[in-house]
Symmetry: C2
Subunit: 263 residues, 2 copies
C-alpha cells in the first residue's frame, strides 16, 4: 500500500483555499491512502466556541463530500482532521474517507489546552476500520501523550495508525517512534507547519510529519518549516508480526493481571 | 534527593568481584539512592536454569545482606538487579534496600528472549514503595516495551522509577524519555556495558544509562561502552505536577472508559 502525507499551513478560516490546496496535493501523486493534518480545512486557533461552530461542518457537509468525490476520482482514501458539528456539539474530528463515502469519524478523546474551551470531548471508545485485508485506526495529535490510545488501536488489530496533528510541543515525533515500536504498527503523523496568531495567542507548529514502521524505523520525515508531501510504500503485513525476539510478542506478552489501570 | 547510577560490566559468575566493584562505587560518591544494573551481582547470560539457580540467592542471602550493611554505612538506598532463588523458583529480580533492610523485591514481569528458559515470570502486580514523602517504583529492562509497566507505577503514585537494565536492543533509552514524559516521573535507567559470550550466544550491552526528568529532559547520560557513575540532584516534587498545559494533566486527563485493555 502506498501511503502519503501532505504537510502544509492551512489558512485560518479560509476553507475554500485550504480545500483547493488539499485537492491539488492529492492530485499531485498516486497513493492508496492520504493522511492530512488535524483541522486541515479550517485552521486551528478558534477565538471561541461560536467561531468554531460557524466554521465546523457535519460529516455529510460540503467539504467531506468534495473529498469523497476526490477519493473516487483518484481511487484513494483520505484521513483528514476537521471541525465537526453535530447538532449542538462540536468535535475535533478525523474522517476516514474512501470512494464509498465517509467510512468512519473519530472524535478526539484527549483535548489539548484551549481545545477544551472550543470542542466537546469525543465519547470514544477507540475503534478501527477495515483497510482491505488490514485495519486502520485513527488518533489525533495530543492523543499521542496517552499510550492507551495507540495501544487500544493495536489491540483492536490496527496495522496502520493515521495520526492527523497540529503539534506545538517538541516531543511527539520521537514518542510516535515508541508508539510504533511498542505496538508493532505503522504510525503516520501528518502535522502542519506555520504560525497562527489569534485572540492574543501565538502558536508555532512543528512540522516533521513522519511515517514510522513497526520496528520503529522512520521511513520518511518532512522538514519542520515547509510544506511537504511524503509518500512511502508500506508492507502492511509487517504489522502482523508482533515478535521482537523469537520468544517475545509485543501484544501476546502483555500481562494485564499485573497492571494497574486506575489511580 | 541525590540519585546516582553505577554503570559497569559485571564479570559473569564472579559474585565476589562484582560485589567488590559495587561496594567501591557506592563508597565513591554521596547519594541518597543508587540504582545498579539488572543481574549486577551475577552477570546475564546463564547457560541454563541449573547454572542460574546455582548463582541465585534468596533476598535474605549474603549479597543483599552485605548491601544492606553498605546502605547503613553510607546512609543510602540501593536498587539492584539480582538473580533471586525462592524455593524451586528463580526470578530476575530487583531489590530496594535501605539501612532498614530489604524494603521490597520486584520480580520481572516481562521476561526477554532466553530469560524465559532460565527464570520464572514475576507474578506482579506492580507496586511502589515509600521513599521519604515520595514513592519509588521498580521495573526491569524489557518491561520498558510495555507502557503498562511504567503507567502502573505512575498510577500507584511513583515519583521515581528505578530501572535496572541489561539492554541489547537500541530503542530503550529514547523510549524511556517517552515513559518519563507520558507519566510525569523521573526515570533512572541503570544499564550495563560490555559483552558476554556464553553457550554459543554473544550479547553486547548498550550502556547509555540515563536519568530523565518528568518533562522528558535527559539530565545525565553515560557513554555506550565504558564504566561510569552518574549523579544528579532530583527535585522529586516536580513529579507531583502532572500538568502539561494549564488545562492538561497527564494522569487526570486519562479516559479509561474509551480504552480497550484486552485483545
Amino acid at each position: 500500500m502506498r501511503a502519503a502525507i501532505f504537510q502544509f499551513s492551512p489558512a485560518f478560516g479560509d476553507v475554500a483555499a485550504n480545500m483547493a490546496r488539499i485537492e491539488r496535493a492529492v492530485r499531485s501523486a498516486d497513493a492508496d491512502l492520504w493522511v492530512l493534518p488535524e483541522l486541515a480545512t479550517t485552521g486551528y486557533l478558534f477565538a471561541d466556541r461560536a467561531e468554531c461552530s460557524a466554521l465546523a461542518e457535519p460529516a455529510d457537509g460540503p467539504s467531506l463530500r468534495a473529498l469523497v468525490d476526490l477519493c473516487r476520482e483518484r481511487s484513494t482514501r483520505v484521513v483528514i482532521g476537521f471541525a465537526e458539528r453535530e447538532g449542538e456539539r462540536i468535535y475535533n474530528a478525523a474522517a476516514h474517507l474512501s470512494p464509498e463515502g465517509v467510512l468512519s469519524v473519530y472524535r478526539k478523546v484527549h483535548l489539548f489546552d484551549r481545545e477544551r474551551v472550543t470542542f466537546d470531548p469525543g465519547p470514544g471508545p477507540f475503534r478501527v476500520d477495515p483497510l482491505g485485508a488490514h485495519r486502520l485506526g485513527m488518533m489525533i495529535c495530543f492523543d499521542w501523550v496517552f499510550p492507551e490510545a495507540a495501544r487500544s488501536l493495536a489491540l483492536l488489530g490496527a496495522d496502520v495508525i493515521a495520526h492527523p496533528a497540529n503539534l506545538v510541543l517538541p516531543f511527539c515525533q520521537d514518542a510516535m517512534v515508541t508508539r510504533a515500536l511498542e505496538n508493532g504498527v505503522f504510525c503516520l503523523t501528518a502535522n502542519r507547519v506555520g504560525v497562527e496568531r489569534r485572540a492574543g495567542v501565538e502558536l508555532a507548529f512543528t512540522g516533521r510529519s513522519q511515517i514510522v514502521d513497526p520496528q520503529g524505523r522512520v521511513l520518511a520525515r518532512a522538514p519542520s518549516d515547509a510544506e511537504a508531501t511524503l509518500a512511502v510504500d508500506l508492507e502492511l503485513e509487517l504489522a502482523r508480526d508482533k515478535s521482537l525476539t523469537p520468544r517475545n510478542d509485543r501484544l501476546g506478552d502483555r500481562r494485564p493481571e499485573c497492571y494497574v489501570e486506575r489511580e
